[in-house]
């Protein structure tokens, strides 16, 4: 791939230069440094979400949200603002096709409660079934993200901090759909459902 983009590449130094200048392979390696070699996610100081098998529309929408600061994340703003739309599309298409095993490590004590919330919701608390939008297998669709195999700490962090990170500013943002649901879940319900989806293949 690099050889096509950089015909002169051949010596190690040229390859290093090519890697610094860009190209899809170099950018993929850059993403995977933090998000895991197979896109399975990684636990750094912050949880880096799984990108493998993610819906491309969702990934591209989030990269745009970082750039437009509708989604607050200083690291991802820096990462995303140098990406052009065709690079975003190529990265998203690559991650869609990866299918590593879930990262694992979530507590297993509340999996049954998590499954029930995921499949039936909590009618008394105005929490709809997650499966209604994210699918029974948690694969997501279009701009609705895949949750299957997502890092437990990441899902917990997103659901507990939804309004602080997502849908910032006045521009229309699809994350508004999740805001009431995230708000209506208690901490222990969030932990249960995050653990359940983290083990979905």
């Amino acid at each position: 791939m690099l050889a096509v983009i950089f015909p002169a590449a051949g010596h190690a130094q040229d390859r290093a230069m090519a890697a610094r200048q860009g190209g899809l392979e170099a950018k993929l390696e850059y993403c995977k440094t933090c998000h895991g070699l197979s896109g399975q996610g990684y636990m750094g100081y912050f949880p880096m979400p799984r990108l493998a098998g993610q819906q491309p529309e969702y990934l591209e929408a989030q990269l745009r949200a970082f750039i437009e600061r509708r989604r607050t994340n200083p690291i991802m703003f820096n990462v995303a603002h140098v990406l052009n739309p065709s690079m975003m599309a190529a990265l998203a298409a690559h991650f869609r096709d990866l299918n590593p095993r879930p990262f694992g490590g979530a507590p297993r004590g509340s999996l049954a409660i998590g499954k029930k919330i995921y499949e039936e919701g909590l009618p008394d608390s105005n929490v709809p079934a997650c499966s209604a939008c994210h699918g029974t297998e948690g694969k997501g669709q279009n701009e609705i993200p895949r949750l299957a195999g997502q890092l437990y700490a990441y899902t917990v962090g997103q659901l507990t901090g939804w309004r602080k990170e997502r849908g910032q500013g006045t521009a229309v943002d699809t994350s508004a759909i999740m805001a009431p649901t995230a708000h209506n879940l208690t901490r222990s319900q969030i932990e249960a459902v995050a653990a359940y989806v983290s083990y979905l293949q």
Partner: protein, 209 residues
């Protein structure tokens, strides 16, 4: 020797011992087995109170899970840079997992002192690379894994205040193909760093408290 003179020397020695005991007692108490010989074996090279000395990095304030993981990687010989081979592979040979755990807890509890030995003029650039990376050059942000104050977490090491030459050497070695533990993203991270960026990062980090 005159009796008075002899008493005077004795008095001074006692005073020195008393001071040494006081200094020693401000550190954490060794809770491991035996007589603390394990700690002394480390501090010969890593400095008294584990603050690091020359090529031996500071252990004081390091993440205990990181220390344990590195001892494992010396045992399994996956950490393979020259000093590791030369010193640490042998040094950990007789350390069991319990002793390794106790040593890790012991050194982690000592307050770390920053080395402050980098180039001050490069610190601001190093800080920018640490926090933001250089996305155009596919250099990742260090902050994402090592934390806002380079404090580390779990098996991810504290970098703040480590010595300039140690930080520089490690970043260069990863780029040269040496390894750490299995699954570390550092070889990939370092392969994109140029000499100027390494110097800036190592300088900045040496001043972080």
């Amino acid at each position: 020797m005159h009796v008075v003179r002899k008493l005077e020397v004795m008095r001074r020695i006692r005073l020195k011992i008393a001071i040494l005991v006081m200094i020693a007692s401000t550190g954490p108490v060794w809770a491991g087995d035996g007589d603390g010989a394990g700690v002394r074996n480390c501090t010969w090279c890593h400095g008294t109170s584990g603050q690091g000395y020359m090529v031996a990095p500071r252990l004081a304030g390091q993440r205990p899970q990181y220390i344990e993981s590195q001892i494992r990687s010396f045992h399994e010989r996956t950490r393979d840079n020259p000093f590791s081979k030369q010193y640490m592979w042998g040094a950990v040979a007789a350390l069991g997992p319990n002793a390794a755990h106790d040593l890790a807890i012991y050194f982690a509890a000592i307050a770390p002192k920053p080395a402050n030995d980098g180039d001050r003029n490069l610190a601001a650039r190093g800080r920018t690379i640490y926090l933001e990376g250089i996305p155009e050059a596919n250099i990742v942000s260090c902050y994402a894994c090592h934390g806002p104050n380079a404090e580390g977490v779990r098996e991810i090491p504290r970098l703040g205040g480590l010595a300039y030459f140690y930080l520089k050497g490690r970043l260069e070695q990863w780029g040269q193909g040496y390894h750490s533990g299995p699954g570390s993203p550092m070889p990939m991270v370092a392969s994109h760093l140029g000499p100027d960026e390494i110097e800036a990062l190592a300088s900045y980090l040496s001043f972080v408290r």
